[in-house]
């Protein structure tokens, strides 16, 4: 095992055969048994005596169902025991409920009457005999506003099932129920929370925590009663089990089984695979136990024969339906807790389900843990302020978690491209071979060797999501997030940020006897002033700039000023309440009572989160075990994100409980504090006060200010920064804290939220080059822009060589104009989505044109289209000028270098150079270096049809008469020189060609097979194609010298 990890490191810089890695995966467990069939089933269940033994498991998913007979709602908890047995625990007896304020003068003995009234009102819509279990008279307090800490009467209406509750809620809110001859129209409280979450809150169950079922309290179902494929099936009353908070011993993680899979379809040329036509030909699977490094099951289901693959079970099937069925049986036997993959939710699962339906494989769509529940793909739309709107499929796999790594990536990381290849290159430092889908069918129709090749490719795609997940520690981080925020694991991917805050809010409110109104969400576009900044003083600072940050600014403000729903003071109430201490915030005179009257709920939540984070961070420092470290780090991250999302929750105008008074006050305070910091620093650190220089704030952002203390060395700047942070902190209410974190030196301030600097935390060695808002990851930029900007910044800031940066920029522009830039640097990629764009888009137009040329290789919906901008008639729109890079290479089509210079390079370049060079920056874009221009002569299109090809002199480009073969008369003396020049070119290209093509051989892991890879994300791909053409062209030119001179 240890050899593998060292290998991996090596692999990072030398990507190579995936087979090599597979070979190393074969571990000792299957050592002795010859080609042992890998064991699929879970460990068997030990003998359990319900009277003596308790059952302890980590629940991973909770959902609800209805008892088929009594029709009462039941909670289902799926989980795993420590030894890896799967558990389904039915929790019974928990009833949904909500609150309404009791009508004035309501008495205990009015309860039965009310219950009758409501029951009567519900019954036309609900067939239950007894929809309401009971009504209780309680004393609660609404979370909204300060009421002098007085509780009032609330009615807790407890229903026997969820639908009845929803009907009642609507009727009560609409005033459709009569009670005592009066209309009962009330706002409901806590009625808009799901039954599952309600259960979790009331029973103190958090996401993915450990559940203990004490002996004598549960009933173990016998085989005949089992409804699922879980090994243990248990019934228990909702008040009989122990829910362990995820702390100490209970922060462990059960050995979850993670299945990572990938399918291959044999598509037809030019058409996106269609499940009613194109077969699924391979399914590769990797199953790993959480916490272990390597998968213990590696197999591939193939349609038709397939040559053996080292350390992998090859399961050959000769019938499509049987293969799908075999795979389904495999899934059920392996019984994974988590299923991952890349784009599995929107492609692999729906495709498998549709294909199975088409082939009429009746038993296939039962992939969840519940017997008899069909797995289906449903369309869902998910929109969130933080993540944007996404249309997704939803696949129901009861009892199993799904983690589509593509969605995880799109959610958590901002990248240029989200193809598996580029994501892996980014996070794992590996290129992977990519087989174009048009070749897949050819490989499938070949022999068992070619299918083996395909299988290796498929297997690699199956393991990469797993490795990606391990690398990014997704499972751990998501588990911790679920534990911290108390929501089920599944919510994290399927729901937005709000639900996490809601869960915490309800939990705290539950403790404090508060009830939360169910507000009708009203989409209002009230935009309040965001965090403005201190206007930047743009420029290049070659002195240390100290940065003072408010740590957790917004949470601190809420804590410091006790901002909460529960402390919000209505002006009308002030007189009523009499003697009350309050503060008035800078926003619209909003008023909040001080903490001695009532401690706010949100501040309490935030304090808990922040102190928990502090604790996690302290533990993290002490912890030595890497796995526990990962858990703690995941936790502190989850805590930080949660703390910050509380502010967002109060400001979400379409949210469940928006409160503009809170969110606007927070930002107003924030602005005020930045201003105050500026004043304090600038008035304290002055020459008048005995300091060497007058300090000056050059820029202030949401939660930080940049101070120029005037000193020219890092040591002094850091000392002053630390001092100033302490000094200013003393002027603010606790726990607001200004921290000195880093010094930028040098610092390039371009504009608001756009800057770059060399980041120092200790005076001996800089930490990193930090950039904000500078185009590096924008996808509609070509790589060239990113490279040039990054290199220039490096030269300026790290090497402090501004003229070197200028020179580099000029050189690049010169190379660009002379066609010396590699095509891969100029390629722009965009995914081809729905074809009904109103505005014409370059990639759409190109896809259309490519389809006309060759429908077989044209990109189809969902493909990413790569294009370059080529020269065209004057004034042609950009969308007309897009062209397929390969087509450009093959036909020598000239690149519109001016487009790249003007539309891609110039703005970002000027932006970073202007603060330094001022008006002189324009000289980058014009001058000597832009005078030499080379344009390729296209071999097709337009006028070329009429053009006659004439050889030109290789020295001076004069057209040659037939007799001359390389040069004109005048250049004849230069023949030797010209020949050598051409020879040099050929030599460079030949070596380039050889290096690129042998590299691809290494990467594909075979010397004897042709290179098939067509991964457009690989830096080599265009280069390889171009090298092939270039070397041939250059050689043709060289051959023109082969005559007697």
């Amino acid at each position: 095992m240890s050899t593998f990890s060292t290998r991996n490191k090596k692999k990072a810089n030398a990507p190579s055969s995936f087979e090599n890695q597979l070979a190393l995966l074969q571990d000792s467990e299957s050592a002795n048994a010859e080609k042992a069939h890998q064991v699929w089933t879970r460990p068997s269940v030990p003998n359990i005596d319900p009277n003596r033994d308790s059952i302890i498991f980590q629940q991973i998913e909770i959902d609800d169902t209805i008892d088929p007979e009594s029709r009462e709602p039941i909670i289902r908890m799926f989980g795993i025991t420590e030894i890896g047995n799967s558990v389904l625990c039915y929790v019974t007896g928990f009833r949904p409920y909500f609150y309404i304020p009791a009508p004035i003068g309501f008495k205990e003995n009015d309860l039965s009457n009310l219950q009758k009234q409501i029951t009567r009102a519900i019954q036309p819509e609900n067939s239950l005999k007894k929809p309401i279990e009971r009504i209780e008279l309680t004393f609660k307090e609404s979370i909204w506003g300060y009421h002098g800490n007085k509780k009032s009467q609330f009615l807790k209406i407890i229903f026997s099932e969820v639908r009845a509750m929803n009907v009642a809620r609507r009727l009560i809110e609409d005033g459709a129920i009569k009670y005592n001859e009066r209309q009962l129209r009330e706002m409901t409280f806590e009625s808009n929370i799901s039954y599952v979450l309600r259960f979790m809150i009331d029973c103190k169950v958090t996401g993915a925590n450990w559940i203990e079922l004490p002996p004598k309290n549960y009933n173990l179902r016998t085989n005949s009663l089992e409804t699922s494929t879980c090994q243990l099936e248990i019934d228990i009353k909702y008040d009989r089990f122990i829910s362990h908070p995820p702390e100490g011993e209970w922060s462990k993680v059960a050995p979850l089984r993670i299945l990572s899979f990938d399918i291959e379809c044999a598509g037809r040329k030019g058409i996106f695979p269609d499940p009613t036509e194109d077969p699924v030909i391979q399914i590769a699977n990797m199953v790993t136990r959480q916490g272990e490094k390597h998968p213990f099951i590696r197999n591939v289901f193939t349609l038709n024969s397939c040559a053996p693959i080292v350390a992998t079970d090859v399961i050959e099937c000769y019938d499509q339906g049987k293969m799908l069925q075999a795979w389904r049986d495999f899934v059920i036997e392996v019984d994974p807790d988590v299923i991952i993959g890349y784009n599995t939710t929107n492609f692999d699962f729906p495709y498998l389900l549709d294909r199975a339906q088409h082939l009429n494989v009746k038993k296939f769509p039962y992939l969840g843990r519940m017997k008899g529940i069909k797995t289906e793909a449903k369309d869902t739309k998910f929109s969130s302020k933080a993540y944007g709107t996404r249309e997704n499929k939803f696949i129901n796999l009861e009892g199993r978690l799904q983690l589509d790594m593509l969605q995880v990536m799109q959610r958590d990381h901002k990248l240029r491209s989200y193809t598996l290849n580029s994501v892996c290159a980014h996070f794992l430092g590996e290129q992977k071979e990519e087989v174009h889908h048009s070749i897949i069918t050819d490989l499938q129709n070949g022999n068992d060797e070619s299918r083996r090749r395909l299988a290796i490719y498929c297997l690699k795609d199956a393991i990469l999501p797993q490795r990606l997940m391990d690398k990014l520690m997704c499972i751990i981080n998501y588990l911790e997030m679920a534990r911290v925020t108390g929501v089920p694991f599944n919510y994290l991917l399927s729901r937005g940020q709000q639900i996490k805050v809601i869960s915490q809010l309800y939990r705290k409110a539950f403790e404090q006897n508060l009830v939360i109104p169910a507000l009708k969400s009203e989409g209002s576009d009230d935009q309040f002033e965001g965090a403005t900044v201190i206007e930047p003083e743009r420029g290049f600072y070659n002195v240390p700039i100290a940065t003072l940050d408010f740590s957790s600014l917004y949470p601190s403000i809420m804590i410091a000023h006790n901002l909460c729903y529960t402390t919000l003071l209505d002006i009308k109430d002030i007189d009523k309440l009499g003697d009350v201490d309050y503060i008035t915030t800078p926003y619209n005179n909003a008023k909040f009572v001080k903490v001695h009257h009532r401690k706010g709920l949100l501040p309490t939540i935030l304090e808990d989160l922040l102190s928990a984070r502090k604790k996690a961070k302290a533990d993290l420092k002490k912890e030595t075990d890497p796995f526990k470290k990962a858990v703690l780090d995941g936790r502190q991250l989850a805590l930080k994100i949660s703390a910050n999302s509380v502010y967002g929750f109060t400001g979400a105008t379409v949210g469940k409980l928006p409160c503009i008074e809170i969110s606007a006050s927070v930002t107003a305070y924030g602005r005020q504090m930045i201003e105050k910091t500026k004043q304090e620093v600038e008035s304290q650190y002055t020459i008048a006060n005995g300091y060497q220089h007058d300090a000056h704030i050059i820029y202030g952002d949401t939660d930080s200010v940049m101070v120029k203390f005037g000193v020219d060395n890092l040591v002094d700047a850091m000392a002053l920064g630390r001092e100033a942070a302490d000094y200013v902190t003393r002027k603010f209410v606790k726990p607001i804290k200004l921290e000195f974190e880093k010094v930028y030196f040098p610092y390039l301030l371009i504009n608001k939220k756009r800057y770059a600097g060399l980041y120092w935390t200790n005076p001996d060695k800089w930490d990193k080059l930090d950039t904000k808002g500078i185009e590096t990851v924008r996808r509609d930029n070509c790589l060239l822009v990113q490279n040039v900007i990054e290199t220039c910044l490096r030269k300026m800031l790290i090497d402090r060589d501004v003229s070197g940066a200028e020179e580099y920029a000029k050189k690049t522009i010169s190379d660009l104009l002379q066609n010396k830039i590699d095509m891969s640097q100029l390629v722009i990629t965009k995914a081809l989505s729905k074809s009904d764009y109103s505005a014409k888009q370059p990639h759409h137009e190109l896809a259309e044109r490519m389809r006309k040329r060759d429908a077989g290789s044209a990109p189809t919906l969902g493909d990413r289209v790569a294009y370059v901008i080529v020269k065209s008639t004057k004034g042609a729109a950009a969308y007309e000028k897009s062209e397929d890079p390969i087509y450009v290479l093959e036909n020598n089509i000239p690149i519109d270098t001016n487009y790249y210079l003007e539309n891609q390079l110039s703005k970002p370049l000027l932006r970073i150079f202007e603060p330094i060079l001022g008006d002189k920056a324009q000289s980058l874009l014009a001058g000597d270096h832009t005078r030499v221009v080379q344009i390729a002569t296209p071999t097709i299109g337009g006028l070329m049809k009429f053009a006659v090809k004439t050889a030109t002199c290789l020295g001076c480009k004069t057209p040659l008469s037939k007799k001359d073969t390389a040069v004109c008369r005048h250049c004849k003396p230069k023949l030797g020189e010209l020949y050598q020049r051409q020879l040099d070119t050929v030599n460079k290209l030949e070596v380039h060609f050889a290096r690129l093509w042998t590299q691809c051989q290494r990467c594909q892991g075979s010397l004897h097979q042709d290179i098939l890879c067509s991964s457009k994300d690989c830096p080599i791909w265009y280069m390889r194609k171009k090298a092939q053409k270039d070397v041939q062209d250059a050689n043709n030119l060289l051959e023109r010298f082969n005559y007697a001179w």
């Binding site: 005078r931 030949e990 004897h1008 041939q1032 082969n1042």
Partner: protein, 482 residues
């Protein structure tokens, strides 16, 4: 030209077994004692061996996959190797993929070495351009290297101490005997390679002549030179001049003329006739963004032209391109374009040939390279002795196994021109660190004289090979007259 006789041309200490030319004795004789006797130059028949020449000249302008060349190599050599295991009791597995665990068997495949120090263009390209380029090591080999055996079905990792006893590099065809272990690796207990090829039957075998080991009056010599490194600095000029005088017979006594100089029938120049061009950076010059013609310097070529013109007026010269010469840089290097050497280019004595180069003088077969082949193999292994490496290439029956993986070559489609399918009598490697030679004999009386040629510009050494008995000796030419 007056000079001290002692320093005119002194011989370099030659390996005992190969030379018994009484050089000291030669030198002791005065040049003035020249007798007025006509001495005619020895002549040999020349066969440019079209069966090899055509393959090596066959660089058609078609750049495709490198898989073909591996395939050709594998097809040709695996047959031979398989035959060698004929009597082996172990099972032959014809496809690497069909290896079953724990079953003793043997398989044949192409070796692939996974080495982290190998130059990697992908890593270079993915590296951000501000990061310093990794320093290229003199040798690629490291303790973490892995050996794999590859055929068109797949590859398997080969392990075992037996591998350490053998010289193994990427691209050779090898057979291994052993078992697949539980890790999916193949544990090697024995290795087999193609072994020395045969020499074609000839009416008069060379072997007996070598056995006799006598010098005769009708001895004929071929002079082997590499690394003239002609440039404009004039450093090697004196050396070249002295050598020239030696060939013209102006230098050395009559006896020497009679016994050696006149018996030199041919000269082969094995690469690097020109020195590496070093462009002189001029700081003051304004940077030019375009084509800059000031970098080209025709002087070295003219010097070479003049030198060869003189040489060719004496005897036939075969010139092979080397790394620094004005020819294509990937193997096989094509002949230097004769247009570049206008004075000598049309001379019938001038033969511009390929690198590698096969030819036959009288009945002696020559195979030579300008050194890149051995230089590249050298990087793969810890062994320093290049003579051993050169000998191994004969046993592998392949002169450039590391092409195309790290030694750049043309992607041949249906031929591997680097296969050595017959044992040459002489196998010379140009541009090596120092002179060394060895006679390799096979069980079928086949034999090869291996010669490592040092760079002439650096060492002043020219090697003379006696076609009659394959003995060789060297002569040292000083770089100054005094």
């Amino acid at each position: 030209m007056s000079m001290d006789e002692e320093s005119e041309a002194s011989t370099f200490p030659v390996e005992d077994s190969t030379s018994d030319i009484p050089v000291d004795y030669l030198l002791s004789l005065s040049r003035t004692a020249k007798e007025a006797v006509e001495i005619s130059r020895a002549e040999v028949t020349y066969d440019d061996m079209p069966e090899y020449r055509d393959k090596l000249l066959n660089k058609k302008n078609s750049y495709t996959h490198f898989a073909h060349i591996y395939f050709e190599r594998y097809t040709k050599l695996s047959k031979i190797i398989r035959n060698k295991w004929k009597d082996c009791e172990a099972k032959h597995v014809n496809k690497i993929l069909n290896v079953k665990p724990n079953e003793l068997c043997y398989l044949v495949g192409t070796v692939y070495m996974e080495m982290q120090n190998k130059p990697n263009i992908l890593a270079e390209l993915s590296r951000n351009n501000w990061e310093p380029a990794p320093i290229l090591k003199e040798k690629y080999c490291s303790p973490t290297d892995e050996f794999w055996l590859d055929d068109d079905s797949g590859r398997i990792k080969i392990v075992g101490d037996r591998l350490k006893e053998e010289i193994i590099v990427s691209g050779i065809i090898m057979s291994v005997l052993g078992k697949e272990n539980s890790q999916g690796e193949f544990e090697v207990s024995d290795i087999c390679i193609a072994g020395l090829p045969k020499q074609p039957e000839q009416p008069e075998q060379i072997y007996p002549r070598i056995q006799m080991n006598i010098d005769r009056d009708d001895d004929k010599y071929v002079a082997l030179i590499s690394g003239l490194n002609i440039d404009t600095s004039g450093i090697s000029e004196t050396r070249l001049q002295i050598m020239m005088e030696y060939f013209t017979g102006e230098l050395g006594c009559f006896h020497e003329q009679k016994n050696i100089s006149s018996k030199i029938a041919r000269i082969i120049i094995a690469g690097n006739s020109l020195a590496t061009a070093k462009p002189v950076p001029d700081e003051r010059k304004q940077k030019k963004y375009g084509y800059d013609n000031s970098l080209y310097d025709a002087e070295p070529l003219n010097n070479l032209d003049n030198f060869l013109e003189k040489l060719c007026s004496l005897l036939p010269v075969h010139i092979m391109p080397g790394q620094n010469d004005p020819a294509d840089s990937t193997l096989p290097q094509q002949p230097i374009l004769s247009n570049l050497l206008p004075k000598v280019g049309t001379n019938p004595n001038f033969h511009s040939v390929t690198n590698p180069y096969w030819c036959k003088f009288d009945d002696v077969t020559f195979l030579g390279t300008s050194g890149q082949t051995i230089d590249d193999i050298y990087k793969y292994i810890e062994i320093e002795d290049r003579l051993i490496i050169a000998e191994r290439t004969l046993h592998w029956r392949h002169m450039a196994p590391t092409a195309p993986d790290t030694l750049w070559c043309y992607p041949f489609k249906d031929v591997d021109p680097f296969i050595i399918d017959q044992m040459p009598h002489v196998y010379f490697i140009g541009n090596q660190k120092e002179f060394a030679t060895k006679l390799v004999k096979g069980i079928d009386q086949q034999c090869t004289r291996i010669i490592l040629l040092p760079s002439f510009a650096e060492s002043g050494i020219v090697v003379f090979l006696n076609l009659n008995n394959l003995k060789c000796h060297t002569i040292y030419f000083p770089s100054t007259f005094f």
